[in-house]
Symmetry: C2
Subunit: 646 residues, 2 copies
């Protein structure tokens, strides 16, 4: 039941608060709550941060009222792990008394009784260790009792900031109310911020040959090198080029058809090299300042060792066969799905443990980031168990959910533990409307899942070539790249993007023609006209500007041209502000007026302010809420304005 005060609507939280909301080390995490009680007393509140299982607060921060009983304060978590935070509030007797005294003095009313009340209040302040009152309080009390002074002089000291400060917290606090603790997971920064690059090692000639590509990726400023499955590939029903059914003997097959007589999820494909070669690639990537992310695809080729060793982990059909994956009329004959709910619970336990063993194996080989394939086809209860179990032993492990599915499932996967999530960004190409970028960015930054779903923006994947990229010019790739890299702290591209690879499988098929999923693609990365310079610039700008490493600070600014989208971000401390304006038209120059929400940029309407374009190096001076922009895609896709008002 309700305590003396009401404390509710506490954020950050997941729905129902069974699972932790998310923060990263060093982030200024805003804690919000509605706090109120009956009547007109002055209240005060604070938030305490406890490591999970500890009764000792690691951090305490005041909450301040922002109007209409909405309070907020800031925690800055210092270490990776599970936490709880607790909001406490109380009636602040000194502030209540001070307000009353000030209002009565203002109105010229008598304060005789208030003087007596003040004496009682100050005398009740918590004494120091020697039993005496804090000196400022004792001094104010003696002045209150000095009848030779006029009323205003008698209360002056008692109303002063030092006395108010000394009466803060437990001093003069009544109706002390503690809300239920809420769980919080604090991740390392890479869970929330990162530039990803996806490549197929087999197209580079295996692990050792891939090492030659690493310096170029590091030079472009990427943080994560993500490899599709590196395991043996099944022979049964192997897919040929362009997803055909009869693979020739030289066709390598889809890396997602995992497992052969060579081994399963803890084996590397012999064509890629040895496990030692893999370890070496991991170390080369690490030395280049990046990390390797592996694919975690819980499915098997019919030739996977599990299929014969553990038939109880698969779906059996009445004819004795093991079911392959299908979503009629589509068939995925080269893959058999795992049955995560075998008839016997002992089998379920051994299966789930075996799935965790895969992660533990690769964690043992230095991998701490996993891109999880199709998590929405596995039970929520499985992830709810797996992710905290892994992170309890290895707190730095990061999971990216590759779920392109309906909104409730997307949010639930994030709520039960995924560190970051693929999004609908890939298909959000217009600015306006319910499926537009404006509504989507606003939802991701400020919607109900913003406390726990961290969006990852991928303009392309090996499965998806969409929107203006299809048969599109390099300018289309540039504008989608800028959007991804500036709108979300986490973004990634799949190799070939920088070259503008743009040929769709067919007018109605979202995949690539001659997809690398089914064949080896050798690319000429040395060609002259690529996005490498822009990628390098963008990743550099992202590193220089903490504003771009935030999501919740995103603010959209209207423009009078629907081909121009404008949004800004601020660093936690407010000192870094970046306003991005992107031309969504890859073919023609677009111009228009941006109507700036000045207060969110930290500038006033009275004085001029500078906008310095990180991409062109030019500076403009603007004043007031309207700024003019013109963007010609032949010259630049976007402005990345650093906003400063001297």
């Amino acid at each position: 039941m309700t305590g003396r005060l009401v404390i509710e609507d506490i954020h950050p939280r997941t729905p129902g608060a069974e699972h932790p909301a998310k923060a990263v080390v060093g982030e200024a995490l805003t804690v919000r709550a509605a706090i109120f009680k009956e009547g007109h007393d002055a209240l005060a509140a604070r938030v305490l941060l406890f490591p999970a299982g500890s009764g000792e607060a690691e951090q305490v921060a005041p909450l301040r009222e922002e109007g209409n009983d909405d309070w907020s304060g800031v925690l800055v978590p210092q270490r990776v792990g599970r936490y709880q935070f607790v909001v406490q509030a109380w009636t602040h007797r000194h502030a209540t008394w001070a307000h009353k005294v000030e209002a009565k003095l203002e109105a010229g009313q008598e304060i005789d009784v208030e003087l007596a009340e003040g004496e009682l209040l100050l005398a009740a302040a918590e004494p120091l260790g020697d039993g005496r009152l804090p000196p400022v309080v004792a001094n104010a009390l003696s002045r209150l009792r000095d009848r030779s002074l006029v009323d205003k002089e008698r209360v002056a000291d008692a109303l002063s900031p030092p006395v108010a400060a000394a009466m803060w917290g437990p001093y003069g606090a009544v109706d002390f109310t503690t809300a239920a603790a809420l769980p919080l997971r604090v991740d390392r920064e890479r869970a929330a911020v990162g530039a990803w690059y996806e490549l197929f090692p087999r197209s580079h000639g295996g692990f050792r040959a891939t090492e030659a590509r690493i310096p170029a990726l590091a030079a472009m400023g990427f943080d994560v090198v993500y490899l599709p499955p590196i395991h043996p590939i099944g022979r049964s029903h192997r897919k040929g080029p362009n997803n055909t059914l009869n693979a020739g003997p030289g066709d390598p097959g889809s890396p997602w058809a995992i497992g052969s007589s060579d081994g399963g999820h803890t084996t590397v494909h012999p064509d890629l090299g040895t496990l030692e070669d893999f370890d070496h690639l991991v170390s080369v990537v690490r030395e280049a300042g990046m990390e390797v992310a592996l694919d975690y695809a819980l499915q098997c080729s019919p030739d996977h060792p599990w299929v014969s060793a553990h038939p109880e982990w698969f779906h059996h059909r009445p004819d004795g066969s093991i079911a392959y994956a299908e979503n009629p009329p589509k068939k995925y004959q080269d893959i058999v799905p795992i049955n995560f709910w075998p008839a016997s619970d002992a089998d379920r336990v051994s299966l789930w443990q075996a799935c965790k063993d895969i992660l533990d194996f690769w964690i043992g080989h230095g991998i701490e980031i996993f891109r999880v394939d199709n998590p929405h086809t596995k039970p929520i209860a499985f992830w709810e168990w797996l992710i905290p179990a892994v992170q309890a032993e290895n707190p730095g492990v990061v999971f990216l959910a590759e779920a392109f599915t309906r909104p409730h499932m997307m949010a639930k996967l994030a709520a039960v533990g995924f560190s970051q999530s693929y999004t609908y960004f890939t298909w959000r190409t217009e600015r306006d409307g319910p499926e537009g970028l404006w509504a989507y960015l606003d939802e991701l930054a400020h919607g109900p899942a913003a406390d726990y779903l961290r969006p990852a923006f991928w303009p392309n994947t090996p499965d998806i070539l969409s929107g203006p990229l299809r048969n599109g010019p390099l300018e289309a790739f540039a504008l989608r790249l800028v959007l991804a890299a500036t709108a979300s702290p986490i973004y990634g591209i799949y190799s070939g993007y920088e070259l503008g690879e743009n040929r769709p499988a067919s007018p109605t098929n979202e995949e690539y023609l001659d997809s690398e999923k089914y064949q080896i693609i050798v690319r000429d990365y040395s060609q002259p006209n690529t996005l490498v310079p822009l990628i390098t610039e963008l990743n550099g700008i992202r590193r220089r500007h903490p504003a771009l490493r935030t999501m919740r600070s995103l603010v959209l600014h209207p423009t009078d041209n629907p081909m121009l989208i404008a949004y800004s971000k601020r660093s936690d401390d407010g000192t870094d502000v970046v306003l991005t304006v992107v031309n969504l038209d890859p073919y023609d120059a677009q111009e228009g007026w941006v109507t700036l929400r000045l207060d969110t940029l930290g500038v006033d309407a009275v004085r001029p302010f500078q906008v310095f374009d990180e991409l062109s190096g030019s500076t403009w001076s603007w004043q007031g809420e309207r700024g003019f922009v013109r963007l010609d895609p032949a010259r630049q896709a976007a402005h990345l304005f650093v906003v400063r008002q001297p």
Copy 2:
């Protein structure tokens, strides 16, 4: 932890679901939930309604998917009281199988294995009492096994609606998942629907004399006659006319300064008559088809018997005095507030019980509706205890919260049990903007508190003369009346409204000049130019149109003239649709186009439809989404269109 299926975001609910959401007897209550699981199986779901404390469901209704994993179904509660409802969902094996078979047949794919799966599935159907399968299932099973038929014929019966129906529910259901129960309070209709009239019996000459006014109120169609406090009024610091401090011997004082040597909250003021006279008035009102509502104002005059008998229930100041109410610089010397948290818990228990005893006393005198004065100045925990305690013994009791305060407190009072709530309607006079009627109506009908906060719209109260009513023409009173009576199922007026009483206390004071709170007002209700005919019409229309007795069905329709606001409502069964268009300008005729959301009116764009104006008796024929209206306040304030498409 999560079950086989995820069932979440269940509504109706209060935040946190500790307190019941609200429904009324006979209401079609929509239950919504997000329901999903991994993969592509077909799901099914239902909702069960249990009387609180009973394990036996009183009602079961199916939930249907409405897209994107959002499901809904309808309960129709039959009796007043506390309930719980439970959502259950499961994987529907028959539907999953049927979808697969149909998709494969469509694609011309083989279904050999599916035929075998179908045999197993149908054979596993729950047998009848005699151990045999339901005949339709047995028949379909023998056809499935008949190899002389072609595939399509073999499955035809198994896919037929009778077999699908027989396989519904427990047949073929796996992954059965039950969500946590949510509490629901079912009230009588008067808690959610009613037209109120407020009058001061003393201005009519006491209880017996007031009886003469009752037939007129019944003829106007009111449901509730609400009386400000009828108790003895204190002498100490009694207020004179216009809230002055020195009342003369003939001044009656504010009825809210409760208690004198004549008695307290369970006594009637001798000037009004005896308790028997009061009982008689109550019976006269009841015979006229209405109910009396009493004021429940938990505060005392300094002369209240409790002040001397229970000094521990009041705030004492250092000079020994009992604190009067003040919110500096304002002073309410004729009232002392109660201290709901006395130092001793035994004192708190006896005080809270004494407060409940007051209600029980008046319930014993036939009163079942209480308008609660300033509930936001009493602890939330008090109401959280009091209201369910009263309703446990007297389930039909209705509480109206008179809280004009900040939004969180307003919502919390409703969440912990108040049946209905005063709102900001009194100050919402423009259509547009964040403080406009459009945003407010949308919030009340569809916002986060719509599951439990029932708005009461009062154009005026004895304390509030606002907006266009201040020195305004009778046309202003007409338009605000129509808004109140049509936008909310609960509305009320304070007597004098029908006469257009419009004189404010001062240009800056929201109260009435010569307020009835401090003096007796004798009115001439027989004057010719009043709103009595309009009130009578409106209350009659409200009774004839179930659409107007709903709130959650409200839909706003844009107009191209900001002085015209348009909104529609539909009855639960969809057969009654009323579109209201109000001219917010009391002085000039306004015209414009309404852009109709046709689907919400139950009409299509292809054929003409009729709009019959209940106020003028005229009918127009419209077609498509645009309708033209012109409203001259000299003739009528609004259209109340009944929408019908033959």
